[in-house]
């Protein structure tokens, strides 16, 4: 039983890692007033970028490829949303549609239709001395691939940036009161574009960690709704980095639950477990939205400054 529980907790942290990367990035852009429904597309672009980057046999190049893929797709979104001031939701939907199609097309043309086993290097878990020996939670949190440790650092970094730096304050001002921010000499569009790019880099990391640390290969549409779940995680985490990280753990747990219950043997249809994170998202959004307030200018496009 303890063994199963340990495995469940490890799987929880492992599956939560890509979700937390994406949700942390989305937190930054939503605090600046931009909701990127195209996050799903950013993640799949990150997955594909990681696959291409890792072809040479280097994990580092895989990570770089993932970040570039994510940033490039978020760049397209930023161009439309902050420069042209196009509708955020429709642009995001188109970005997802386009990124899923483009990665699928390029994958098939570059690697063939058979989906032949792609041998790419993967990130192995690194045990942190002492900490990983802690009972129950030690292995779950401290015997993970390096990207998970990077994530721990980023949670603190994003918190520090949003609450303790001048730029973070300006960014939140744009998300709450763009007119006032502009009157104070801040250029909302420029700051929003930067925030979207940050969410692109982190969304790309989400895709890269999915490919390099979790699945070990690329399949078409492998983002499988994680971008949308990440957006729900941001709301559940109340637009705060630590809250978002904890919310990501909850969803990681919801996904990992299927392994635990399968190992225990159950008659419930497995599709129910597959659908569980999506059902949980609906419940969480309903429960969360009643109590929490989103950034006031979230989703608005009538910001004048450049």
């Amino acid at each position: 039983m303890t063994e199963a529980l340990t495995a469940f907790l490890e799987a929880t942290v492992r599956t939560a890692t890509p979700l937390a990367f994406a949700a942390l990035g989305e937190t930054v852009s939503e605090r600046a007033g931009v909701i990127n429904v195209g996050l799903e597309g950013v993640i799949i672009a990150g997955c594909f970028g990681a696959l291409v980057g890792a072809q040479g046999g280097s994990v580092e190049m895989g990570l770089l490829g993932g970040v570039l893929g994510g940033a490039a797709s978020a760049g397209v979104f930023a161009l439309f949303v902050t420069w042209l001031r196009a509708d955020q939701i429709i642009t995001g939907t188109a970005l997802t549609l386009g990124a899923l199609g483009l990665t699928g097309t390029l994958y098939r043309s570059l690697f063939g239709t058979t989906g032949a086993a792609l041998t790419i290097p993967t990130l192995r878990p690194i045990a942190i001395p002492v900490l990983s020996d802690l009972p129950l939670f030690g292995a779950a949190f401290f015997r993970q691939p390096v990207v998970t440790y990077l994530l721990y650092l980023l949670v603190g970094l994003v918190w520090w940036f949003l609450t303790r730096t001048h730029a973070g304050l300006a960014l939140r001002a744009v998300g709450e009161q763009p007119e006032a921010a502009e009157a104070a000499g801040i250029r909302p569009a420029r700051l929003q574009a930067a925030a979207v790019l940050v969410s692109g880099v982190l969304g790309g990391m989400a895709g890269a960690s999915l490919v390099l640390a979790q699945v070990g290969t690329f399949t078409e549409g492998m983002s499988a709704g994680r971008g949308f779940i990440a957006i729900a995680i941001v709301a559940l985490g109340r637009w705060r980095p630590l809250g978002v990280a904890l919310a990501a753990l909850l969803f990681g747990g919801a996904t990992a639950l299927q392994y635990l219950l399968q190992s225990m043997g159950t008659d419930l249809p497995y599709q129910l477990f597959l659908a569980f994170p999506y059902i949980l998202t609906l419940v969480v959004l309903a429960a969360g939205s009643a109590r929490v307030r989103a950034p006031a200018a979230l989703g608005r496009r009538n910001i004048t400054g450049h």
């Binding site: 042209l84 001031r85 188109a94 990124a99 097309t105 098939r108 999506y278 609906l282 939205s289």
Partner: protein
């Protein structure tokens, strides 16, 4: 909750020159992607055109057959967007409709015959409406973003169908993840003999004409438009119960998408399986935006994107180009439209500095 600012018909805002430039730009980008993917561009483009409209078979058995679910789901999305509802869940609503139609046709078909067909289609619409009812209720009661909730419903519906075709609705030999074929009596009749075009196309045409008439001439259509374009004015000056109107339009949108699923099942596939929809519900967004959310124009844009899908299928057969390339083209179309509209409205509003 973010409300979608009213989208104006692209034809009235977009000058002809810009439209042509965008169309050429999309073709150029398509050629660039084909080149990048290492495909024979000339051969692929020829196959695209021939597969979409090169013969009467291509037109009546490929393009119009594929256009049918696109018109119905496109209409579903257009009506929802027009009322300010971002229903991205047409895919899940379509799947639910198809599943319900399969259950009814298999259960009642042997005893009721053609009567079961009618019941199946009505039940499909009801199933789609039910699938939309949860996001609609979550939005009304808790203010949950319907963009997210409808997308979640798409995944839940997909896994639901996956369960049905491996469980209660699986064919008796239990070898394949699909249902038995529905009885012949529950097939939609063929519209033009010698082709695959079924009565579902006529249903889609009638639905668009009805929606056009209602939104133009009747009070219900006026309510839908005013709630979508200016909800606060609709509530204060018009005395409208905005949440109630929104809720009803959301259900109607789901019903149309559900009907699309029922029509696809009884007119084309005759059995339920997981991949019954190649993403019709997502393509529907491009259909609706391309039509400028105009119910009548949905007919035209649905046929155009049906032609694109039929052409893409030929492109896959003859030039080995993956079918998923279609969604890239659709994304480019959507981006071109929202980009052009934003660009033009920004320019016209630029002098006052008021934004859109």
């Amino acid at each position: 909750m973010t409300r979608l600012a009213p989208l104006r018909p692209s034809a009235s805002v977009t000058p002809l020159v810009l439209t042509l430039a965008l169309a050429l730009g999309i073709v150029a980008l398509l050629a660039a992607i084909l080149t990048l993917g290492g495909f024979n561009v000339g051969r692929a483009m020829t196959a695209l055109v021939r597969g979409a409209g090169g013969s009467s078979y291509a037109i009546f058995s490929a393009t119009l057959v594929r256009a049918t679910p696109l018109i119905l789901t496109g209409l579903a999305v257009a009506l929802a967007f027009k009322a300010g509802i971002l229903n991205i869940g047409a895919e899940g609503q379509l799947l639910t409709g198809a599943a319900v139609a399969a259950a009814v046709a298999l259960g009642m078909g042997p005893s009721l015959g053609a009567g079961a067909l009618v019941i199946a289609l009505i039940a499909a619409a009801a199933g789609g409406a039910l699938c939309a009812a949860l996001p609609a209720w979550l939005q009304r009661r808790f203010g949950v973003l319907e963009v997210i909730s409808t997308i979640m419903m798409n995944f839940i519906a997909l896994y639901g169908v996956g369960y049905l075709v491996r469980g209660p609705l699986q064919e008796p030999t239990r070898a394949y993840p699909q249902s038995s074929a529905i009885p012949d009596a529950t097939h939609l009749p063929i519209l033009i003999p010698g082709t695959r075009l079924h009565v579902g196309f006529a249903i889609a045409v009638i639905a668009t004409l009805a929606a056009w008439y209602v939104t133009r001439n009747l009070a219900a259509g006026f309510r839908l438009r005013v709630v979508g374009s200016n909800p606060s004015a609709a509530a204060s000056a018009g005395g409208l119960d905005v949440p109630a109107v929104t809720f009803r339009v959301f259900l109607l949108s789901g019903a149309l998408a559900g009907l699309a699923g029922g029509v696809e099942l009884t007119g084309v596939t005759y059995a339920l399986y997981e991949n019954i929809s190649p993403g019709y519900g997502y393509t529907a967004i491009a259909v609706a935006l391309l039509a400028g959310l105009h119910p009548g124009l949905v007919l035209a844009s649905g046929i155009l994107l049906g032609a694109l899908e039929a052409g893409a299928a030929a492109m896959q057969r003859e030039a080995g180009v993956p079918l998923v390339l279609v969604s890239v083209v659709e994304a480019l179309i959507i981006l071109a439209i929202v980009g052009a509209q934003a660009f033009l409205s920004r320019r016209s509003a630029g002098s006052t500095g008021a934004g859109t």
